[in-house]
């Protein structure tokens, strides 16, 4: 970059910078590169250590750690199917409730509501992301769970003919409440990404639909939704990743029972919750089992996140690449665990 030329008289030409003055540049470059590399190394190192710590459990149980069903701290037996089921059940509930509401609100804000309401409504929905998860837990334990218990009891008895959903006796803290809180917690991120994706739908496609004599809803159905589908799917998956890993709010409202709850309103557990719950007093192989749970959780969320981001990048053809969605994700990811 810097020309190095000596003048005819053998001195240094004006173009050449002394090696000493190039040092800060070099130092900066290598320093920053090292920082960047450190991030990658950190992730790999974490993986390695986590595997190391959970090794004893996996060597003892193998895959039945995940799929066997018997988690008994007293007898020192650790099969985590209950956590797997709980994790999947609560995340599924979160998706079923949260994604349609989030996408619907995104469609409303972008396509239907009066222009001047757009920003205020967006900010309000995004505000849900600013609430710390421990506050969600607080509210869930003392407000949501007690207030919904009556309704849950009515629901369970009215729909008792539906297997697993009805028929049981709801407990105060159960899968449903955990799933509901998770739905609320993933709402902002799914809505924000959906809004971004929906905003990239080309105006000319929307106009084409209207010019064919489509009603407003038909226009949304014909031009907006099909175009946004990949991006919205990605957003939903990011919400899923969030729901899978959420710890604090869930552990407070799921009942933390070490077995598979046999109906929607029964107590259960998740990988994240069991770690938070039992870590304090765990010893020996119990600790190892909790680390193993952490490893499973880590891999699960990693996979879901990677797939999700692939979808989102496919979906925001028009947006400013990861820039726009990146800022959104960074700023709405304001509370976790």
């Amino acid at each position: 970059m810097e020309a190095s030329a000596t003048t005819v008289t053998g001195g240094r030409s004006a173009l050449e910078r002394s090696p000493a003055s190039r040092l800060p540049d070099r130092a900066l470059k290598w320093g920053l590169s090292a920082l960047a590399a450190a991030i990658l190394i950190l992730i790999v190192y974490f993986f390695i250590r986590l595997i190391g710590e959970s090794h004893s459990v996996f060597s003892q149980y193998g895959l039945s750690f995940v799929f066997g069903n018997d988690w008994d701290v007293n007898r020192n037996i650790y099969h985590g199917a209950a956590m797997l089921v709980g994790t999947l059940v609560t995340s599924t509930i979160a998706l079923i409730i949260g994604v349609p509401v989030a996408v619907a609100s995104a469609l409303f804000i972008n396509e239907l509501c009066p222009r001047r309401l757009r920003q205020p409504l967006s900010i309000l929905v995004d505000l849900l992301a600013a609430v710390p998860s421990v506050v969600y837990g607080l509210w869930g334990v003392f407000v949501l769970a007690p207030k919904l218990l009556g309704g849950e009891k009515w629901f369970a008895s009215t729909f008792s003919f539906i297997p697993w959903i009805g028929g049981g006796t709801p407990t105060l803290y159960n899968y449903f409440i955990a799933g509901l809180i998770l739905a609320i917690m993933i709402l902002p991120i799914v809505s924000a990404i959906s809004r971004e994706v929906i905003a990239t739908v080309p105006l000319e496609n929307k106009e084409a639909a209207l010019a064919l004599g489509a009603t407003r809803w038909e226009m949304i159905r014909m031009a907006v939704i099909p175009y946004s589908r990949p991006g919205i799917t990605g957003g939903a998956m990011l919400g899923l990743g969030r729901a899978l890993g959420e710890t604090i709010a869930v552990v407070l409202v799921i009942g933390a029972a070490p077995q598979i709850g046999n109906h929607l309103f029964a107590q259960g557990n998740t990988f994240a919750a069991v770690i938070a719950n039992e870590f304090g007093e765990a010893q020996g192989i119990h600790v190892s089992a909790l680390f193993a749970a952490g490893l499973v959780l880590f891999i699960l969320t990693l996979i879901v996140n990677i797939i999700a981001r692939w979808f989102v990048s496919r979906g925001s053809h028009g947006a400013r690449g990861t820039g726009a969605t990146g800022m959104t994700i960074a700023s709405t990811d304001l509370s976790e665990a």
Binding site: K29, I248, G280, T301, L334, A337
Partner: protein, 293 residues
């Protein structure tokens, strides 16, 4: 068809009109539904939180109260959070901006930079409990500088905050017009000077906004602290020992059978939310001010 008039105009079927109305109404209803939890949370936070605040000595005493009387306030929790998040920010913000600078100024689209970018992205999706576990494994079990300590909690928080800072910083740094950089370089300024005197000042507002949002996030996290600092009660300014924090305090208090302690949890929750909201508002305010400028 015959002459078109208002009476011969083929009408849109009522099915379509009804569907249109119903769907539009549903979308609006869903939006209202999305806002209800926010309203309810804020409502109860205010109602019960203010009640918690009214307890004597709420802000001025530590939660070391007696078993039967006043359980104490949240002073040590507030101070602990501030201290730990401050240290975490001192780590995360420079590191995060540094990595972002690397990505925009040096790495750009190289395979290495793209890999870093990708994994930073992925890191934002890692559950925060993981960071707690990580620091536990690496620092706590090894008894590096003590057992559970506040500075380890800060490190866990900073790990969580770094990806947020990197991502938002990169967006902002990319917004600095390359013509500005090129002009400075063409004048013969070395790269580090260009970064220090041109790039960073131009991007300063955006960097501050992104950092504030990361700090807000750090303030609210519980899980990373549970595994690195655990719980404490007394007020301390020594980062090398156990330290209290708002999220952990709330988490512990929620599980107490005593009504006064639950009350305290609400008060603490209100306090925490207000701090986080304040940081958010300041960040947005700065961002909008710079946009208008």
């Amino acid at each position: 068809m015959s002459t078109i008039s208002a009476s011969t105009l083929p009408q849109v079927s009522s099915r379509r009109r009804v569907t249109d109305k119903v769907m539009r109404g549903s979308l609006g209803a869903a939006t209202v539904l999305a806002l209800i939890p926010l309203i309810l949370i804020l409502f109860y936070l205010l109602k019960r939180g203010l009640n918690g605040w009214s307890q004597s000595g709420f802000f001025t005493t530590d939660p070391t109260g007696s078993f039967f009387g006043n359980p104490g306030g949240i002073r040590s929790a507030i101070w602990g959070s501030i201290e730990m998040v401050l240290l975490a920010s001192l780590i995360a913000i420079p590191v995060g901006i540094g990595v972002a600078l690397y990505l925009t100024e040096y790495g750009k689209q190289s395979w290495f930079a793209n890999t870093v970018r990708y994994f930073v992205d992925v890191m934002t999706g890692v559950p925060s409990i993981m960071f707690g576990l990580f620091i536990y494994i690496v620092l706590v079990t090894g008894h590096v500088g003590g057992g559970f300590t506040a500075w380890k909690g800060s490190i866990a928080l900073s790990l969580l905050m770094i990806p947020i800072v990197v991502r938002s910083a990169e967006v902002v740094l990319l917004l600095v017009p390359s013509s500005l950089r090129e002009a400075a370089l063409a004048l013969g300024a070395p790269r580090w000077r260009v970064i220090g005197k041109v790039v960073l000042p131009t991007a300063a507002t955006g960097l501050v906004t992104g950092s504030l949002l990361a700090v807000a996030r750090g303030m609210g996290e519980t899980a990373p602290l549970l595994f690195t600092v655990t719980a404490a009660f007394g007020l301390t300014f020594n980062l090398g020992t156990l330290m209290n924090s708002l999220p952990v305090q709330i988490y512990t208090d929620i599980q107490s059978p005593r009504a006064e302690i639950v009350n305290r949890a609400w008060g603490a929750g209100l306090t925490l939310v207000l701090i986080v909201l304040l940081l958010n508002i300041i960040a947005r305010f700065i961002a909008s001010r710079s946009r208008r400028a």
